[in-house]
Symmetry: C2
Subunit: 497 residues, 2 copies
């Protein structure tokens, strides 16, 4: 320990019960090289959950997480969540879910931090400018796979908890009790997690008051709090015709082709201008309120930046409010592809006998997946029957994930707002996420607790892409934000909740 | 040599110049076990031209062909047609094309027999009842991959030529000069063959009068002669949008999705009732003549059998003439699939950035691929522009194969008809092939010679499918047919041609 660090701890100790943000912030600044080194160690582990060959690395990653939490003084448990089924009937052990507890003072609120330490695949050849598993700092950005999604945020939460670790044990020094639940399968569907949450509903989660998820990013350079995600209804529409694939020369013209039927019904889902044509879908959507409209107006969002990033000459909507609304709070239909048809390079002359379209409809309040399922099925069967085809149509909904929407006036969000104001001296943007983060909905449905999504990732971190990065600024200021947030949380009175 | 065979040869010798069909037929019957054994040896070679790992087998197959033709006394050449380019920039030697000449008597006509000895892939696990590369006879059917397509027909031609091989050299005994051109890449596009034909136009082909192709099958149990094939225009329609694939949750609703544009334009190609909706396509088609209508009426074809074989409850047309006409002499649109979209099992939530549809339009007289290309491109660009999409559309025609249609009153066809009448005691059905057999069109265009397609395969041989077979009956009677056909050919007078 160097003298500077010792001084910092003395400062921290003297302020344990009277929150003095500036001293804590200074402590974080002084330890930032250690924090970057910790991130470097984690990024070096190729914890790709989608690649079964990397499973040993993923197990090692979970052990590192458990070890770190133990060193911090937590009560740590590595929970076995069973096996993953592989296509060839083999099974593979899932990475353990690591839980930890810091403090169990009944007079303090209890926050549960969720995060994941598995990553998307990455190879230098994909177009990375640096080795993806060797954290590399360039102009204040820390490049590496998983840096922003979600290793740095998980570490920032750990730093926020351990920063008090001087003379008083960390669990006594913390203004709230903190629990961690860290998984290693988020990128491939959080296998085993929902069952584990359900099983620990009345044990691990029984004393949890709030859950925080920091697995997303800001919308711009302005800090943000995420209060909603869209859900998703994912459909398969399968048209089945001849009993086997046919040669298009030999049979073309004599059979009614399943692929042509399928194209015909898919073309009735959405108009070129983005209007959903399935009766009863658009009608269920909660209208945009004036408050919401005004909030969207104030959000920092550059439409041209967004357009350029995607690389298109025109978006579906040209003004900010329409664009944000259709990104976050209106449903849309995406057609992902067709299974069973010819999809390889080359020129095969086949009439596919069985083709299965995959499309999904993003869900927003007040849509109900059960109702959506029926409307879509009724609509497709209706347009299909008009074709008078001898082929058969089967429609099934294989995912029915509800949207999540929180009340931004809840004290939890007020706490987040106050913490951001303290660290960044600005009010946050309250934003939503167009994608589905099922874990937030699962936490809400299973535990009944209040959830907040408090991102520290930048808007341009390149999650799932080449050259993913976390800026040193966001990592370090994010750690301060979490410290400030813990303090704000401790101020919430029971009555307010 | 057994005594029966010696007697047969004596009989054959005595009839060299006066064609006595019955004795020759008896000779064939007596040698049928040898013929089946020859087929067994050939089927045992896994000459799958689509599998680069089987290339040594394919080379061996071509050597066996050359050896056999040499043993028959032919002037054989194995022609190097260069290398095949593989996707990873590697190259692989193409199988040699084997040519052979039997006789060069300027007073005789010269027939060129085309055939191929490569096969489609086959594995027992695909659902074969017997080992696909072990010829197995069950109830008079010889099961094995390549038995009907095209090894038995090629062997039958060889038997038809070698059957005269007694005391007189085979080339003197033959009523016409016979040439062979046997390739090993037919199943994957006849790589190298067209260039080879072009190169030998004024050498190998200079004295050829007629070309016969026996690489197809009958339509029913009645023997048939094929006088036409449809051509094919194969199109790629590519819609290009964002610069990379996007997450449908994060971006859905804000971008105009290429896949939805593509579905929209594909849906304007053909109606549910099979009417081509592209202006100017249907209009070019030669009208169905009364003669043709009557001929179709007389053709042996069981619509219910056809329907049951395909496994559908209803076909595009319910009466025989309409069905045959749309199988052979009307164009149709088939949509084969989409490259670039999600086509795997599972539920990926992607907005594909670049999607490429593959569809083809079968060509019949008097369609012109150049005109078809323009009409399709104009039509698609027109409907695409109405969508006012910011995405870009590129339409390209990657195959433009013309149809082939012969005059069934040509002496070559009269010879075929007479030969069938002699062997089977019935008049043949004159049929067409809905598929494209580019080699017939290539032979016609490059050499300017007359082509006939004289099939001996059964209507239910299961080409390209599991349990492919050649019946012993078709194989042996087919050999007799070729013998009779050679004799009929020799009767054609120059004036008639």
């Amino acid at each position: 320990m160097n003298i500077g660090a010792s001084l910092s701890i003395l400062l921290v100790l003297s302020t344990v019960h009277a929150f003095q943000y500036n001293q804590l912030a200074q402590y974080v600044d002084e330890h930032q090289e250690e924090y970057v080194e910790a991130l470097r160690d984690w990024v070096a582990v190729e914890s790709d959950s989608s690649n079964v060959l990397r499973r040993p690395e993923l197990h090692r990653m979970m052990e590192m997480v458990a070890q770190k939490l133990q060193q911090m003084g937590g009560a740590v448990e590595s929970v076995d969540v069973g096996d993953q089924e592989l296509p060839d009937r083999q099974t593979l052990a899932l990475p353990k879910v690591v839980t930890a507890r810091f403090g169990s003072d009944p007079n303090k609120h209890t926050l549960c931090v969720y995060g994941h330490v598995d990553v998307q695949p990455a190879k230098l050849e994909d177009g990375w400018a640096t080795e993806p598993f060797n954290l590399t700092e360039i102009n204040g950005n820390l490049y590496g796979r998983g840096a922003s999604d979600n290793k740095a945020p998980v570490l920032a939460w750990m730093h926020a908890v351990e920063k008090d670790n001087g003379v008083l044990p960390v669990d006594q020094a913390l203004p709230v009790n903190v629990k961690f639940i860290i998984e290693g399968m988020e990128e491939t569907g959080s296998n085993g997690l929902e069952a584990m949450i359900l099983a620990q509903k009345d044990t691990f989660f029984s004393d949890v008051d709030y859950i925080v998820v920091s697995d997303c990013g800001w919308l711009s350079r302005r800090p943000a709090i995420t209060y909603g995600t869209r859900g998703n209804c994912y459909f398969l529409a399968e048209v089945h015709g001849p009993k086997q694939d046919l040669h298009s020369g030999v049979y073309g013209g004599t059979v009614i082709e399943p692929m042509i039927d399928l194209i015909g019904i898919l073309d009735t889902l959405i108009s070129p201008s983005g209007k959903i044509l399935i009766p009863g879908i658009q009608e269920a959507v909660a209208p945009l309120s004036d408050d919401e409209w005004r909030m969207y107006q104030d959000i920092e969002f550059d439409v041209d930046d967004y357009k350029n990033k995607i690389g298109v000459s025109r978006l579906m909507y040209s003004n900010k409010v329409d664009l944000l609304a259709h990104k976050w709070r209106y449903p849309t239909v995406s057609i992902h592809g067709i299974e069973g048809a010819f999809s390889d390079p080359g020129t095969k002359t086949v009439i596919p006998s069985k083709v299965c379209a995959k499309f999904s409809i993003r869900q927003v309040p007040n849509m109900d997946p059960t109702v959506v399922e029926k409307k879509v099925s009724d609509h497709l069967h209706s347009v299909f029957s008009k074709r008078q085809s001898p082929n058969t149509l089967k429609v099934s909904m294989v995912i029915g994930a509800k949207p999540w929407l929180a009340d931004i006036h809840h004290p939890l969000f007020e706490a987040g707002k106050a913490a951001i104001k303290r660290v960044f001296s600005v009010d946050p943007d309250f934003i939503r996420e167009g994608g589905t983060i099922p874990i937030s909905r699962t936490f809400q449905d299973v535990t009944g607790k209040s959830i907040i999504m408090l991102p520290i990732g930048g808007f341009d971190d390149g999650l799932h892409s080449q050259n993913e990065k976390m800026s040193r600024y966001n990592y370090i200021e994010g750690t301060k934000l979490f410290i400030a947030f813990l303090n704000e949380l401790s101020q919430i009175t029971e009555a307010a909740v």
